[in-house]
Amino acid sequence: MHDSTELAVSARNISRYFGDLKAVDEVNLRIEKGTVYGFLGPNGSGKSTTIRMLCGLLIPSSGTIEVMGLKVPQQVDRLRAAIGYMTQRFSLYTDLTIRENLRFIASIYGLNRTAANARIDELLVTYNLSERAAQLAGTLSGGQKQRLALAAAVMHKPKMLFLDEPTSAVDPENRRDFWENLFDLSAAGTTILVSTHLMDEAERCHRLAILSAGRIVADGIPHELTAELSGQTLGITTPRPRRLRDVLLEQGAVRSAAQVGNQLRVLVEAGSNNAINAIRDIMQAHDLSGEVAAVAPNLEDVFVVSTSQSQRQ
C-alpha cells in the first residue's frame, strides 16, 4: 500500500461477535492523519466496540487493523505509547485529586519527576484546571471531569486519540470548549477519532462515518453528505401538524416526517419528482392547509436516510 504512511487508521473487513450477536459487521475504515474523524450512531450501533478493537482492547473476530502503521492486536504493546484513549465513562480515580491522578498517569507512561511536573502544569493551564489541582476528582463537575480525562489521555502526547462519546455528560457550553480543545490538538498534528450520537458534534468533524447495527451505512465529509440529499427535504407550516404527519407517513415516497415546533419536516425518497406539488395535492385531498417549501437538508436527515436504508436491506 503506497499510501499507508498517510493513514492513521486502516481497517479491513473487521467484524466482532459477542456470542451470537454481531456487534460489528464487516467494517472498512480509512482515516487520514491529522483529521478529526467522527463516528455517528445510536447506542448499540457498534461505535464503542469498533474503537476498542482499534485500540487493541478487543480482538476482532475477523479482519485486519493497522493503526499508526502498527498491526493490531499483534503490535499493541508498541501502539500503547502512540495512542491515547478516553473512555465513555469517567475512568480516573475519584478518590484522588486532579494532580495525583495526572501524576499517576505520568508515571505509568514513564515520565520522570521533573518532566512529569512540567507536563502536568502545562496541561492544567491548557485545560483550565490549575485552580482545582488539589480537588478530589470525584467532586468535579461533568465538564471538569471531562477536561481532566482529556488531559490524562494526552499526557504522553499521543499521535492518535480515541474518544468514546466524550461529551455525553457535559452541558453545551463546555461541549463547545471541549471541541475547541480537540481542534487545537488536531492542528498540532494529532489524529482524532471521536464517537458521538449528537448531530451538532458530528457536523464539526472533518470526516464522518454513520454507523447502524454494526455497519458503516454512510461516510464522507459532513456537508457533502447533506448535499446529496438536496431536494428531498421539505418544511411544511400547518395548523394541524399531527394529522398531516399521519397522512404523509402513509405515502410510500415519504421517508420520515418529524415535527419541529409548528413545522413538519418531511423527507422524501430520492428521485421523487416535484415533491412539493405532490405533497400539496395530498394535503388538498385530505382537506389540510399549509405552506410547503424546500429546506436545506441536515445531518439528521442523512442519518435517517442511511439508517433506514440499512434496515431495509
Binding site: 476498542r52 505509547a81 484513549y85 480515580y93 475519584t94 478518590d95 499517576f104 498517569i105 508515571s107
Partner: protein, 366 residues
C-alpha cells in the same frame, strides 16, 4: 527499570487511596483487635465451675476430703448433695448438673486396694468438652491422710503435657488466629481492590496504558503485604500482652512464614478478583474460602480427627500449612528448617495463584 517505575506508580497510588479510605483503614486495625478479643476471651475451652453434684455413701473424713479437693480445683462447683446414683443420673438427664461424683460406701477400703477404682464420675457426654474435663477429675491425684497417693481411677500410664502445661486454650488459639485474620483480610482486600477498579471503569483506562498485567498486580498487592505484617504484629503483641502467648521459636522465622502465607492469601485474592464481576461477588467468594479454612485447617478441630476427604481439602488450603508453621515456631520453638515442606507449599501456592491470576486477567476485556 521502567517496569519498576510503573510498579511504584501503582503502589503509590494504592497507598494514597488506602490512606483516604478511613473505613478500610479502620478495618485493618479493628478486625485483628476484635477477633483477638472474641477468640481469646469468649471462646474458651478451659471450663470452670461446671454444675455438679455428689453422692457420698461412705461419709468418712477421707471422702469429705476428696470432695473438698475436687471443689477446690474449681473445675466443678458442687451445688447439690444427692443420696443415690439414680438421682445423679436423673440430674444429668434433666440438665441440672453436668457431672456427678459417686463415692461408694467402701471408699476407705478401696483406698487400700490400688487396683480398684476409688470412685465413679458420671458425665454428661453430649458435650465433648465436658468429657475432657471429667477426665481431668479422674486423673486427680488424691493424697489421703494415711499417706498413700492414689488417683480416682487406676492409671498405669503417666501423661505429661508439653508446651502448654496449664492447657490454656488462648495460647493454642492465638497462633492459628493470626492465620485466620490474615486469610480474611488479605483475601478480601485484594479481591475487592481489583474488582473495584473494574466496577468503577478504571481498568478500561489502565489497559490502554503501557502498564503490564503483572506490574499492576504486584503494585496493587505490595501495600497489602505491609498491612498483613502490621496485623501480624498487632496480634502477636496483643497475644503476648493479654494472654501470655509464648514465643519460643525465632521471631524472624515466624515472620518469614507469615510473609509466605500473606503472599499465598493475597494471590488467592487476586485469583478471586479475576473470576468475579462485582465487589459483592468477591465478598461471597471470600466467605467461600474462609469457612472451610476456619473449620478444616486445624484451627478449631484437630486435623487428625477429620475424615480423609476433609484432610485432603484442608491440604489445599494455605491456612492449614500456616497454622502448622505458626504453632510449630511459636509454641514448640521449632526452627523453620524443620518445617520447610510447609513453607515450600505456601510459596508454591502463591506462585501458582499469581500465574493463574495474571493469565486470566489478561483476557478480561474480551
Amino acid at each position: 527499570m521502567k517496569s519498576l517505575h510503573r510498579i511504584l506508580a501503582v503502589l503509590y497510588k494504592e497507598l494514597l487511596q488506602l490512606g483516604r479510605d478511613r473505613l478500610t483503614f479502620g478495618m485493618i486495625i479493628g478486625i485483628p483487635l476484635m477477633q483477638m478479643l472474641l477468640f481469646g476471651f469468649a471462646i474458651n475451652t478451659d471450663i470452670r465451675n461446671l454444675q455438679a453434684a455428689y453422692v457420698d455413701l461412705s461419709n468418712t473424713s477421707a471422702s469429705r476430703q476428696l470432695v473438698a479437693e475436687i471443689q477446690a480445683s474449681q473445675i466443678v462447683g458442687f451445688n447439690t448433695i444427692l443420696s443415690s446414683s439414680e438421682q445423679l443420673q436423673q440430674g444429668i438427664r434433666s440438665g441440672d448438673i453436668n457431672i456427678g461424683v459417686y463415692i461408694p460406701a467402701d471408699f476407705e477400703r478401696r483406698l487400700q486396694q490400688p487396683d480398684r477404682a476409688l470412685a465413679q464420675v458420671l458425665v454428661n457426654g453430649s458435650d465433648p468438652t465436658v468429657v475432657s474435663v471429667a477426665n481431668q477429675i479422674a486423673m486427680f491425684p488424691f493424697e489421703s491422710r494415711t499417706g498413700s497417693v492414689v488417683s480416682l481411677a487406676p492409671r498405669p500410664i503417666e501423661v505429661r503435657v508439653f508446651y502448654n502445661p496449664e492447657r490454656r486454650s488462648s495460647i493454642f488459639i492465638v497462633p492459628g488466629l493470626i492465620g485466620v485474620i490474615l486469610t480474611f483480610t488479605m483475601i478480601l482486600f485484594t479481591a475487592v481492590a481489583i474488582v473495584r477498579e473494574r466496577e468503577r471503569g478504571n481498568l478500561e483506562l489502565l489497559i490502554t496504558t503501557p502498564v503490564a498485567n503483572l506490574e499492576l498486580m504486584v503494585g496493587k498487592v505490595v501495600p497489602y503485604v505491609i498491612i498483613g505484617l502490621i496485623q501480624t504484629s498487632i496480634i502477636l503483641v496483643l497475644g503476648k500482652w493479654l494472654f501470655g502467648l509464648p514465643i519460643r521459636g525465632d521471631l524472624f522465622d515466624f515472620y518469614i512464614a507469615a510473609l509466605a502465607f500473606i503472599a499465598a492469601s493475597l494471590t488467592l485474592g487476586l485469583m478471586i478478583s479475576t473470576v468475579t464481576k462485582s465487589q459483592f461477588q468477591a465478598m461471597q467468594m471470600t466467605m467461600f474460602v474462609l469457612l472451610p479454612s476456619i473449620l478444616l485447617s486445624g484451627f478449631m478441630f484437630p486435623f487428625e480427627g477429620m475424615p480423609w476427604a476433609a484432610q485432603w481439602i484442608a491440604e489445599t488450603l494455605p491456612l492449614t500449612h500456616f497454622i502448622r508453621l505458626s504453632r510449630g515456631i511459636l509454641l514448640r520453638g521449632a526452627e523453620l528448617l524443620e518445617l520447610w515442606d510447609q513453607l515450600l507449599i505456601l510459596i508454591g501456592f502463591a506462585i501458582l495463584a499469581l500465574a493463574i491470576a495474571t493469565r486470566r486477567f489478561s483476557k478480561q476485556l474480551d
